[in-house]
């Protein structure tokens, strides 16, 4: 029987004052109007009624919405666990206190580096000092904090200092998120992909720190896709546990599903959320195993990775039903090996592309 969803990721807007070169958000999208307060509130209520227990408020930058207090308050009154996923940039201490008073349960703050110059270069704007201030306010207001840092070639060797910084900022959790090469990160893959040696070194340091800090700070080292050999269980499997709703209200199994051609998704409110979850064409397209290529259908690992990431399969190979190319048994695996090989070979600096389509040296 189909399980009910556990979490709702509410992408409140795609707008964002930062221009992270690794941003996994869609490179282009139709700029349709975002859902208004009433629609989000109704959606939260519907989600809670069908079994959702957590709501991630994200984007883009969720703080750009002036109704964030109301949205958090509403989710909180429904009994949902509320987690604000933010760059922290457009925030004041007073507003953070208001968000907490509205019922915010936790903050996930993204950082780029321990070094201000590098951090701001990656983010494309001056942001680092502000983020550190936000981390201090979060601690002062006793809001549990996750520090999130996307790891790539230019910052992965700082991992030791990154862990120390998260500790100093009193993070309860640290997500060492190896870049997923989707959205802008795919465009900038050549610049971002670390070498195998860099990754192995980072993994060792993260493991040692995890042991040392057990009980004080939880450390997650998100599997580096291109070096894994088998794919991640993307979203814990397509349409198994998670609902994502895009700023304009599309109900999706992952935040990039609407970038795949030929799939139909439905808008929140068009019909009951449970019907969308259970019946929408897009959700059912990659549920279960019937859609899988033979390589996966005969592979024992299919119950662990659910056939990997559809967005990655499509954006790398051009085919929706392809084996996820990061899998060593994928007939397209050479595409990943070529990218890795280039990462090992390159010595020169590669420019980064960003949302405003300017190259930053």
């Amino acid at each position: 029987m189909l399980e009910r969803p556990y979490t709702l990721t509410a992408e409140l807007t795609y707008r964002c004052p930062l221009h992270c070169a690794y941003c996994s958000n869609p490179v282009s999208y139709d700029d349709r109007p975002a859902l208004d307060t009433e629609h989000w509130c109704r959606l939260f209520a519907e989600a809670e009624a069908i079994g959702v227990m957590q709501v991630n408020l994200t984007g883009g930058e969720p703080l750009l919405r002036s109704d964030l207090e109301r949205l958090i308050g509403h989710a909180h009154r429904l009994g949902l666990y509320t987690n604000l996923i933010t760059s922290g940039v457009p925030l004041s201490r007073r507003r953070l206190a208001r968000l907490r008073a509205s019922g915010l349960d936790a903050v996930q703050l993204s950082l780029q580096s321990t070094d201000q110059v590098l951090a701001d270069r990656i983010a494309g704007v001056v942001a680092h000092q502000k983020k550190l201030a936000v981390a201090r306010w979060t601690h002062a207001l006793r809001i549990p904090m996750t520090a999130n840092i996307v790891l790539h070639r230019d910052n992965i060797e700082q991992i030791h200092d990154i862990i120390a910084l998260a500790e100093a900022l009193h993070a309860e959790r640290l997500e060492l998120a190896n870049t997923q090469y989707l959205g802008w990160a795919f465009v900038n893959r050549h610049a971002l992909l670390p070498t195998h040696a860099q990754l192995e070194q980072a993994k060792l340091i993260a493991q040692a720190a995890r042991e040392r800090l057990r009980g004080r700070m939880e450390i997650l080292f998100v599997t580096p896709d291109y070096y894994g050999g088998v794919p991640r269980a993307c979203m814990d499997g397509w349409g198994r546990r998670h609902l994502v709703v895009s700023p304009d209200g599309l109900v999706l199994p992952c935040h990039l599903a609407h970038t795949l051609p030929g799939l139909t998704f439905e808008r929140a409110g068009a019909r009951p959320l449970l019907d969308i979850w259970e019946q929408s064409e897009g959700f059912n397209r990659f549920r279960g195993e019937a859609w899988m290529p033979d390589t996966c259908r005969s592979c024992a690992y299919r119950t662990v990775d659910f056939g990997g990431c559809r967005c990655q399969a499509f954006h790398v190979t051009g085919h929706l039903e392809a084996v996820d190319p990061v899998c060593r048994w994928s007939p397209d695996h050479h595409l990943i090996q070529t990218a890795r090989h280039a990462a090992e070979q390159r010595t020169e600096r590669v420019p980064l592309w960003r949302r405003d389509l300017q190259m930053v040296p």
Partner: protein, 91 residues
Amino acid sequence: MNEASCPTLLPKTRLRYNRQRDACVLLWPERGLVLNRSAGDILKLCGGHHTLSSIVNALSAQYPHTKRDLIREDVHRLIRDLHSRGLLTLE
């Protein structure tokens, strides 16, 4: 961990009743556990005001038909598990 330790759930966790699953759930960022009845009853006492032995006593009173030794084992296993996942402290 001993009988006098006070298990305390960390601030990032929330213990809630979920009506759709008719069960207590323990939530923390991006994760959650759906608890069986006794686990829910144990965690309700993990706010830092009860020692391990007083939790065992309370559960024994609540489940009079279960042997105390089994309850003790259950409580210790759950607390140890959540402690190793970094979800509670033992003062």
